[in-house]
């Protein structure tokens, strides 16, 4: 081999450079004893072709839109169309959220994304004692179809796609969405969107749960089975790492536990008798864009490669679309600081940029005030403009996967892939993700990582600008959004009115049908659709389930 081609430690030119570096470091020592990613993975001072020995362009990367999709799932990526700019919105009542939807659409948003309040997320109506103080606080309150009709008033449901962040009652909200669309004259085969519908990550990280894992999985598989036949444009599960990361995981843990959840869902659907290529193309993913720029980019690239191989080799998918990992990204809420909140604009811009360089299909950029309250219109506009600047001003969308071939990025992609696969194999050895969750394994790993990180911040090993370095005594005041108490009153009145005027015999019949189907294993979706059209409330359905299936409660480990 000629000297030109050698890059390893024995190479003369490399040795010469190492000597020069050693001399320079003597004069100007390195800033840190050890450089690591945000997740604590060590970073070398330099990456060279040596780090990619044996790397095959065809096998590891391939072309964009081609297996294993490392370079992106579309052949054109952002040269064809930018990602969907989908800002999460939900505040107060259906009226306020509908107004925010219209505001965002007028300002260039291209997809809707709905945040529900805690009672709705947990399967309670606004009049439940469990809902006291929480109605409309961190999202919109939806009790019956009447609320949903207001939420999507004057929204053309055949033209927009809607993401609904909902889990235990996901099937009920989907039924309501179908019912509202039908009232608008839009058939269920014409609507598009996503329900999160990802209970596994709830047990692992976000902790919005209702039923135990087994019946939760059954209801999820019901929605997949139903949508595969009836709502073909609907994304049936948004397999979410976002909350896993917010709960404190590392990047590799986020990737590993999310993909392990995905494997769990695919297996459950196959066990139901579904053909993998019939439902897998409608599974999508949701990742967190955290602060470590390159680690995040590598994470998305590794995610696509692992998923493609899992789908092809493990589940024997034939359809290319089953192997494509499509994902939405949200910038990291937990990276934002209440101190010097305007700095959050910069953090969010960097995080959003990493998501774009990682090839996301859809993005939510956080508003600078989200660490203090729900975002104001002003703050959400800056966040949306951040995406537009990334997409249209700075040139990073002009070519596909511009970082491919970078010694560092490819090395890091390989490394994160390896770390994630180790976790996935460990979970397989435990007997699958449900077993691992029962044993508290992912929960414990995440809690450990969160604690380690907090200690590093407290000790100044990881810098948070404005918090443990560059602090200031007085911060600029910022305007905050408050949810008026009127929302709760109006919501309670509306619910009462519905309950007084609906056909109560019909309500009882619907609930009995749901109870019977819950017990006999029949697909629940047609019964839910019937029920919501009769203005059965979501808590009434959830209470039926809680009776039949029991509840899940937090084991309270720390």
């Amino acid at each position: 081999m000629s000297g030109e081609k050698k890059f390893d430690q024995t190479d003369e030119r490399r040795q010469a450079w190492e000597a020069i570096y050693a001399k320079a470091v003597k004069k100007y020592p390195e800033r840190l004893p050890q450089f690591t990613t945000l997740s604590n993975e060590p970073i070398k001072k330099l990456y060279t072709p040596e780090d990619l020995a044996g790397f095959s362009y065809q096998d590891e990367l391939g072309y964009p839109g081609e297996y294993p999709y490392t370079r992106g799932v579309q052949p054109t990526m952002y040269r064809g169309r930018l990602w969907t700019m989908r800002q999460f919105a939900g505040l107060g009542g259906a009226e306020e959220t509908n107004a925010r939807f219209h505001y965002l659409m007028e300002h260039g948003e291209t997809g809707l994304s709905t945040a529900f309040d805690m009672p709705t997320l947990m399967g309670y109506d606004s009049d439940s004692p469990m809902a006291r103080g929480e109605v409309g606080k961190c999202g919109v309150a939806i009790d019956t179809l009447a609320d949903m009709e207001i939420l999507f008033d004057r929204i053309p449901m055949d033209q927009v796609t809607t993401s609904m962040t909902i889990n235990p009652p996901a099937s009920i909200l989907l039924a309501m969405y179908v019912a509202v669309a039908e009232k608008q004259g839009v058939g269920r085969d014409k609507i598009g969107g996503t329900i999160q519908n990802d209970m596994l990550k709830e047990f692992i990280a976000q902790k919005t749960f209702m039923l135990p894992p087994e019946p939760s999985m059954r209801i999820i598989v019901d929605t997949v089975e139903y949508c595969t036949k009836e709502v073909p444009r609907w994304n049936t599960i948004s397999i979410s790492g976002y909350h896993i990361r917010e709960a404190g995981s590392t990047a590799a843990q986020e990737l590993a536990f999310t993909l392990a959840d995905g494997i769990g869902y695919v297996q459950a659907c196959i066990d139901r008798g579904l053909d993998v290529d019939d439902f897998a193309p409608r599974l999508s993913f949701f990742f967190n864009a955290h602060l470590d720029f390159f680690e995040e980019i590598a994470k998305y690239r590794a995610a696509r490669r692992i998923w493609a191989r899992v789908m092809k080799n493990r589940f024997k998918a034939k359809d290319q679309r089953s192997m494509m990992l499509r994902f939405h990204t949200q910038t990291a809420g937990c990276s934002l600081t209440a101190q010097q909140p305007y700095n959050n604009v910069v953090r969010t811009a960097c995080e959003g940029l990493s998501a774009v360089l990682g090839g996301t299909q859809s993005l939510h950029t956080n508003s600078l005030d989200e660490v203090l309250s729900l975002p104001t219109e002003h703050a959400v506009t800056i966040a949306l403009r951040t995406q537009q600047i990334i997409g249209e001003e700075i040139g990073v969308t002009n070519t596909i996967d511009p970082l491919a071939g970078s010694y560092f990025v490819e090395s890091l992609t390989n490394e994160i892939e390896g770390l994630a696969l180790e976790y996935i194999n460990k979970i397989d050895d435990m007997g699958g993700i449900l077993k691992a969750i029962e044993m508290g394994y992912p929960q414990k790993e995440i809690a450990d990582a969160a604690y380690t990180y907090q200690k590093q911040v407290d000790d100044g090993e990881k810098i948070v600008v404005g918090v443990n370095k560059y602090q200031m005594d007085d911060s600029l005041p910022i305007e905050l959004l408050r949810i008026d108490e009127v929302v709760e009153k109006r919501q309670l009145q509306r619910l009462q009115k519905i309950k007084d005027t609906r056909d109560s015999a019909k309500v009882q019949n619907c609930l009995q049908a749901i109870e019977a189907a819950s017990k006999n294993g029949e697909n629940l979706m047609p019964h839910l659709l019937e029920a919501v059209k009769s203005y059965v409330s979501q808590q009434e359905i959830c209470d039926t389930w809680r009776r039949v299936f029991g509840r899940y409660s937090d084991p309270g480990m720390f």
């Binding site: 805690m118 009672p119 997320l121 947990m122 309670y124 004692p129 469990m130 809902a131 006291r132 103080g133 929480e134 606080k137 961190c138 709830e202 976000q206 902790k207 919005t208 749960f209 917010e246 709960a247 404190g248 937990c334 600081t337 209440a338 101190q339 660490v371 203090l372 309250s373 729900l374 809690a447 969160a450 604690y451 907090q454 911040v457 407290d458 948070v464 918090v467 443990n468 905050l480 949810i483 409660s553 937090d554 084991p555 309270g556 720390f558």
Partner: protein, 132 residues
Amino acid sequence: MGENKIKVLIGKPGLDGHDRGAKVVARALRDAGFEVVYTGLHQTPEQIVATAIQEDVDVIGVSSLAGAHMYLFPRILELLKEQGAEDIPVFGGGIIPDDEIDLLKKAGIKAIFTPGSPVRATVDWIRTNLGK
């Protein structure tokens, strides 16, 4: 020595599932030598107060990141008073704007720790205020 250990209850009132902060604090307090009781998620104020009294804790910490603190935190103080246990100090944590921190303090919450507070601050606060 164990007899004198400060006993802390960490509670998660309401429907909010964000337990990262509560768990990190619970663990830091345990590492600092306190005895820690963690309620787990989705507790009503009634359940938290009942646990605090039954466990005979010295101090209660409650965490909420979903905006319901203005109902839940004062409700806990109210229930403690009803049970004649208002001598148990209560501190809070979570996403809480400055002016609401003032209101909660006026209502009787002794301290509020927002995201970005080092856990050491909570440990020190308990030591200073409950020096045993």
